[in-house]
Symmetry: C2
Subunit: 390 residues, 2 copies
């Protein structure tokens, strides 16, 4: 298998109805990524698009071919990948395989989602398609209500209160202040968190991600392309691990409701492939869609034992400069969670950290990033391990 | 790159509201494919699902993880691939890469589509998302009306009448009679074709595919797995070529409205990779969604010059036993076109031809099959070249 590198990234600011049409948001991100890589459209031979809801909310499918055309890549191999909120990273997984397996030398991966143009109830219904419709959606469960179940079970099982989750939201919002592309750029403190209204008890508004629009892209390429970029003083980041693992869609189908088996499996596969250990990880861009998912992700990834994930970071471990920074550019919570684009934003931000382009949120000497994107409440988990190239 | 083989196939009969739930249709096809391959679920490490409309018509996304779970494959890598009506073969393309690139030894590809449970206008609207919404869908164009534009332009440009397209429908219906899994198992003759009502002039009902439900699956595996299967007297078919190419979604965006550039490019790439020529092709499972697409596909693939595709087969070339049999098990026209499943049905049927399991429609000594699945009216074109293993 060939080595795979990220050689360029692009993103549009995460916003609310500020971006205009999806195809143009996507094309902007793709063109920015190619410009950063110093590559021309004719050097690209494949485009994989991550998207969850365009068919339901914008009457537009076949985004792969469409975005290829609009971005000046007509003719290339293209398709769309869907794994609910994990769509962006799942598209990157295909892109990784395409380069590593020798099928393409330069591939673009683009995540795009527009969620704010549709009536709120339409968007809520579209999001619920990530859950098991027959067992959950059709009896009225929404994505929010399922996360409320998880949070209340967690609180009950481990004897913690909602304030125990506050530091995840506070950290994410603090970091978003340093990211010009973030959606929610306002500081949050414990008082604000506690005063935040419950949107589905015990989930407070500040436990949940915002509905928003966004598009991001990365260019994946071979070692030769990366070396050429480096000779032109352009940085490259190596993708050392890439894995997808799955679990039950329905919460009731899981082996244990508070254990993300898919995340544990995905993490183990990616770390093994990369040949690194948890101790080597300098930052963890996790899927902080809800604060309880942050706690469960830290546990599943092996950074905290069961029941301790919620306490991880209370002493500053998750902050920039801490032992394991998370949500370093604002995370899903504050950068925003345009679902099918989120996994690609995470890769873009990890690239920024590993190439020294994350100021004022720069993690000093970051060498290894673990990046995890989750579909549903844990059904599809995509993990990438990125390493600074030298 | 490693050699890739199809080592088992499964399909449910194409029907109308006869199959029950999508997940169970998919699981049936997957289990049948594994049984035919003589493999256990634990030997599978990835599942790629082709589907276009489940989110829009059944409130269910994230089919990769869902079907993996229902089919007994929980934990494996899984995701959904969407390229409109080309989704099934696009999923197979990912599966091919996963095996050829050394990422997985045994992969299942499943295509599933349910279209008949929703109100007709809802299904029609969902199908229109394959077209360019901004340029076509939002001004009232449907998939049918766009094909009517193509057919009338073709007739005008080349001075042919609708009866010139009849033999494609007659051939497909004749072949469906020999396929127990086909949806429309009734003979059609020229008289019936000519008497068929125009659903969107000049497109007659018998130029168009039926709305239907279906699921099909193939197991892709390494040479070692294929050899072991052969030792157990199970056949294997080698995937010698695999390619996706793209073109404009909107008809008006094409270089030339009656030329399928994406199909020409996709064909050329697949043939080159396979190291075979058009003369080597013993059957061509093409995307006969509409009779005009059959004519255009024959031209784009290089089997007929521009304007002559419509006449190809009038002397029996496309029949079983002819020079280039097409739609050998009924094609999209008569086996049926459950859109996201179609590309996988085509692979299953080509497997049947190459392993001698296609009686009474068996093509004698078939060695090479070209299989082509198209998204939209030509925007995403997936071509596979299959070869009988010996």
């Amino acid at each position: 298998m060939r080595e795979v590198y990220i050689v360029g990234t692009g993103q549009v600011p995460v916003t609310k109805q500020g971006q205009g049409r999806g195809r143009h948001m996507a094309a902007r991100a793709i063109r920015a990524a190619l410009a950063e890589a110093g590559l021309e459209p004719r050097e690209v031979s494949a485009l994989y698009v991550g998207n969850m809801m365009s068919g339901m909310l914008a009457q537009q499918q076949q985004l792969g071919a469409l975005y290829a055309d609009v971005a000046g890549l007509r003719g290339v191999e293209a398709a769309t990948v869907e794994a609910a909120c994990g769509s962006g990273a799942a598209a990157a997984r295909w892109g990784y395989m395409a380069v590593a397996g020798g099928f393409h030398d330069v591939v673009v991966v683009c995540g795009m989602e527009r969620m704010t143009h549709a009536p709120k109830e339409t968007t809520t219904a579209a999001l619920a398609t990530a859950a098991d419709w027959e067992l959950e959606g059709c009896v009225g469960e929404s994505f929010l209500s399922l996360n409320a179940v998880l949070m209340s079970r967690y609180m009950e099982r481990w004897g913690v209160g909602s304030r125990d989750f506050a530091h995840f939201a506070i950290n994410a919002h603090r970091n978003a202040l340093g990211n010009p592309h973030a959606f929610l750029r306002k500081p949050v403190d414990l008082e604000a968190y506690l005063a935040s209204r419950e949107v589905a008890a015990p989930v407070k508004l500040l436990d949940a991600p915002p509905i928003c629009d966004g598009a991001a892209a990365v260019v994946l390429a071979t070692r030769d392309v990366a070396r050429a970029a480096e000779r032109a003083s352009r940085p490259a980041v190596r993708v050392r691990g890439s894995a997808i693992a799955t679990d039950s869609l329905a919460l009731k189908g899981r082996r244990e409701i508070l254990t993300l088996d898919g995340a544990a499996l995905s993490t183990a596969r990616a770390l093994e492939q990369a040949g690194v250990t948890r101790d080597d990880v300098d930052l963890f861009e996790l899927h902080d869609a809800y604060t309880v998912i942050t706690a469960l992700s830290l546990e599943a990834a092996g950074f905290a034992p069961p029941g301790r994930g919620v306490h991880f970071g209370k002493d500053g471990e998750i902050a920039i400069g801490g032992r394991l920074p998370i949500s370093t550019m604002g995370g899903l919570k504050a950068r925003g969670h345009p679902v099918g684009a989120t996994g690609v934003y995470q890769l873009v931000e990890s690239w920024q950290q590993l190439t020294g382009a994350a100021a004022p949120n720069q993690i000093p000497d970051a060498e290894i990033a673990m990046v995890q994107n989750i579909g549903g409440t844990g059904a599809t988990v995509v993990t990438h391990i990125l390493a600074r190239a030298r």
